[in-house]
Symmetry: none
């Protein structure tokens, strides 16, 4: 970025991560202590400034995690709420549990919306002001960095600006390092956030002490956070992959590249995230999905698998001339990569780029290019989907180009599924497959059943896959490190009839991952086709030569 002033001449912007606290409010998410440790380390390596670890005392996992939290460069922060009424901050046992976690920083949430003070707390407005002031003062007196999360601030400001501001001032005067403006219900739009943050700063709370905490209930959490920064706020709270209550929190995985790479921010600010750490962003995002066993969102900004996928034919041809024609950043900056998929919308230039990526050079105008496109189109009419199955596309193209080695031939297979009662009157099921393959001149019969180590029947496709990969003679070493990582089935229209499309994702010991497709009215047959493609692709990639005799 040539127009970025050197470090030291830019303002500091602080990133506050709440994946471990607000992120845990995601439906279906429950971190273990070990997972929290792993995520905290990843956040620290990424370079966020604050890691909010949870609410000590609120549940056993959070308490245990604070006892075993890793050493971090980032400021470790415990979350809690302002003291309850009718006792002092020092005598509130809920607050005491938060303090006892011993973190250098503590973030306390408190009410700032008059409606909530009355409805949810049932106390007077003055009692609430006193709770904020006393709680923050207590943190400061104990030598902690104090953060005040102003809950429902924007709704409160719209309803009663005088009272909402009085709450902020109470925290500010009591010594809070940060006053964080929370759009708790997620309904405030970016333009309103900009206007209200501007007013708050005009009322005397310095922007250098203001944070923003947005939720994505209108799909604007990232933009709302940027609007607050535009207005002068200097801390952004968010989560990795946008985890969080309801629609999630502001997505730091989207915000960080924008702050580092987009001139309006890169030129004005610096953060704790380096360009090297940014190049690891995709990996960190996937790591979190892996921990949570969630399917990564393909369309995610910057890190999605589709984020730099150019499907339109016109786009793909321009990309060949200059990637900046249809890319807003270089995908490598965030650890991502360009993808030019095949589909019946693609032109010849798209096709050449795709072949080149697979190591196959074909001259422009080669008549075989048109033939490949015809075959792709014909197959897609039958229900194949090559933009989701790049490895199968490569095999198809190699076949048309005369570059497809014939490693082996499947002569026949048979698979059976049986379900019956065992002698204890329990229903059990079992699948068995026989595959007959000819390699060179040798005929090989293999049989496998579908039980895994735990005695679970994994079904007919599993049995077939095992039989097929049981003994491929001279190729066996190359396929031994291959395994199936995903298996997707959908019913689609092939010609006039419904057919089954199977897409298989495979992975090998070198970390390569590839997708293959099979289509048939018979689900097992469609799966077998995709399996065969997966194996053939792997043998080609490993540079094996076909056995002949």
């Amino acid at each position: 970025m040539s127009n970025v002033p050197p470090a030291g001449q830019r303002e500091r912007l602080y990133l506050y991560d709440t994946t471990l606290r607000d992120g845990q409010q995601t439906q279906g998410v429950q971190f273990s202590t070990a997972e929290k440790q792993q995520i905290a380390r990843a956040l620290d390596a990424l370079g966020v400034d604050y890691i909010e670890g949870g609410w000590p005392g609120a549940n056993p996992t959070d308490s245990e995690f604070f006892d075993q939290r890793p050493e971090t460069r980032a400021t470790f922060t415990a979350f809690g709420m302002t003291k309850r009424t009718g006792r002092s901050a020092a005598n509130d046992d809920v607050l005491a549990a938060v303090m006892n976690a011993g973190t250098p920083a503590v973030c306390l949430v408190g009410k700032t919306h008059d409606f909530h003070v009355a409805t949810a707390l049932g106390i007077s407005e003055d009692e609430n002001l006193a709770a904020i002031k006393d709680s923050v003062a207590h943190l400061v007196a104990q030598g902690r960095e104090a953060l005040f999360d102003a809950e429902h601030f924007f709704d409160g400001f719209k309803s009663n600006p005088t009272y909402a501001l009085a709450c902020l001032k109470a925290a500010h005067q009591a010594g809070a390092r940060w006053i964080v403006l929370c759009d708790t219900n997620g309904g405030t739009l970016p333009a309103e956030i900009h206007r209200i943050v501007t007013q708050v700063i005009a009322e005397g709370i310095p922007g250098a002490q203001l944070g923003i905490h947005c939720h994505d209930d209108t799909g604007n959490a990232v933009a709302g956070s940027l609007a607050a920064v535009d207005a002068g706020a200097r801390q952004i709270q968010g989560t990795l992959n946008g985890l969080g209550e309801r629609c999630g929190n502001a997505n730091l995985t989207s915000l960080i590249p924008t702050l580092l790479l987009k001139p309006p921010y890169a030129a004005r600010f610096e953060t704790g995230v380096t360009q090297e750490a940014l190049a690891d962003l995709l990996r960190v995002s996937r790591q979190l999905d892996d921990i949570l066993n969630r399917v990564p969102i393909r369309a995610a900004a910057y890190v999605g698998a589709s984020a730099f996928t150019h499907k339109a034919g016109l786009h793909a041809s321009a990309i060949l001339k200059d990637p900046s024609t249809y890319e807003h950043i270089d995908p490598a900056l965030v650890g991502n990569a360009r993808v030019i998929p095949m589909s019946n919308q693609a032109g010849q230039s798209n096709l050449r780029a795709r072949l080149k990526a697979a190591g196959i050079e074909v001259e422009a105008g080669d008549p075989r290019l048109a033939r490949i496109l015809d075959v792709v189109k014909e197959r897609e009419d039958q229900g194949y989907a090559y933009d989701a199955a790049q490895a199968s596309f490569e095999l198809l193209a190699r076949n048309e180009l005369g570059l497809l080695p014939q490693f082996f031939e499947v002569k026949r297979y048979r698979v059976s599924v049986e379900r019956r009662k065992n002698r204890y009157d329990q229903m059990i099921s079992m699948s068995e497959a026989v595959v007959v393959v000819k390699i060179g001149g040798d005929k090989v019969l293999s049989v496998s059943e579908s039980m895994d180590e735990s005695g679970t029947d994994r079904g007919p496709v599993n049995a077939l896959s095992k039989a097929l990969t049981k003994d491929l003679g001279p190729y066996q070493a190359a396929i031994d490190d291959m395994h199936l990582v995903d298996y997707k089935v959908r019913i689609t229209q092939g010609g006039t009839d419904a057919v089954t499309r199977v897409i298989i994702d495979s992975e090998d010991g070198q970390g390569r991952r590839w997708s293959t497709v099979g289509v048939s009215a018979n689900l097992v047959d469609a799966s077998f086709t995709a399996l065969l493609d997966a194996i053939n692709w792997k043998l080609i990639r490993d540079g094996l030569a076909p056995v002949t005799r």
Copy 2:
């Protein structure tokens, strides 16, 4: 909305849907003609103003769709590009194919960024201006409503504002009804969009003729669209569920509720979407996911399954006092519903309402309600999905309530798939199934194979289904009018292992349609479970009594 002026006193804002064109650029998406028709009807019922159907002539599906497009209230629009250089608009065959679709409106994309004119087109800047002007004038002369999609406009404006504006003016002067500012690469931030749209209007292009077309590459497409409207643009282009090239287009499913429900927009504008249609938004969103066999995104704004789920304990208890404490809108306005964890009272009243809908009355406080909730939770942990399979849910509840008749018992089944060469050396496949059922005291053996009338092998599940429904003795008449209308398979997580979830939709002669679910590590077994549920539900609904002996 009490502060909304009556209709006629508000400005009109136009919604332009490009799900069928830009949405088809989503990786893995390929609509059939029938699917395009279904989506167009859903868009029309929703109330969008323009439906962009595709690019006639670009591929066979798009051409076929325009020949068979449904009648709509919305303005049907064909997409294409400005004429190529070296011929007149009237003599450009690519443009002629677009015109021949005969739509009332035509939207042509053209270059406005000097870099692209040179790099992608390789023509002079003046030639490009002439292409825009002549193409738009041609549409107008042919009596079409003309739209000009100003490709890469924001990047172009930042690089060479004079030329970018000259392109807009060429289209404007030639009579374009709409000039659509496209952030083609998706890298422009909302604040920049606001600033640039403001400048364009100051240069004399009326806001009432300006549209905005955003992509989500920084996670800001919704906010960018709103920023353009804030600055004066009056048409928004987007897609349902945010489908589209790379990270997708501006998500109309998020934008529409914001425009109708949020005071800054609701007070100023009216759109073609009524409050009644808005209440159908979630259903339309799910319908599109169903067509594409995509898993709906739980955290989606407004329509996500988690959008009104209150996991935090403090939130849930406040919600019970007043839902507005932690909800920015009433979920029913968009057809969504509040979800509070099953274990509490709210879970039980939901359950009673669902049972009542199935004709089963259970008193509040009945201890069996808690037991049903426990079983649902346990099964959903295993991978079952009862929201999508109401008939299976009903059977589960009946079982816990002692209201599930035992019509028959499956003793065992066996299914085999074989693939081999026939005597003409062609590979053929065949599936065969045997099912053994006990009805009353009688044992019935049935066998079926999977060939349909055309000689196609429909696979093992088809063979099993045929065998199971071949002879169910006294129940046969009730199941003869039943048929399978959809079959969906997904790999999901059950406990620690991947399992297969099968959802079957069935229909009968009375037009009833019901969904059942089966889960197993074995795909055939999961399918069989769902089939059994489908039959049992039908027998209950038809009021049959179990045979006993």
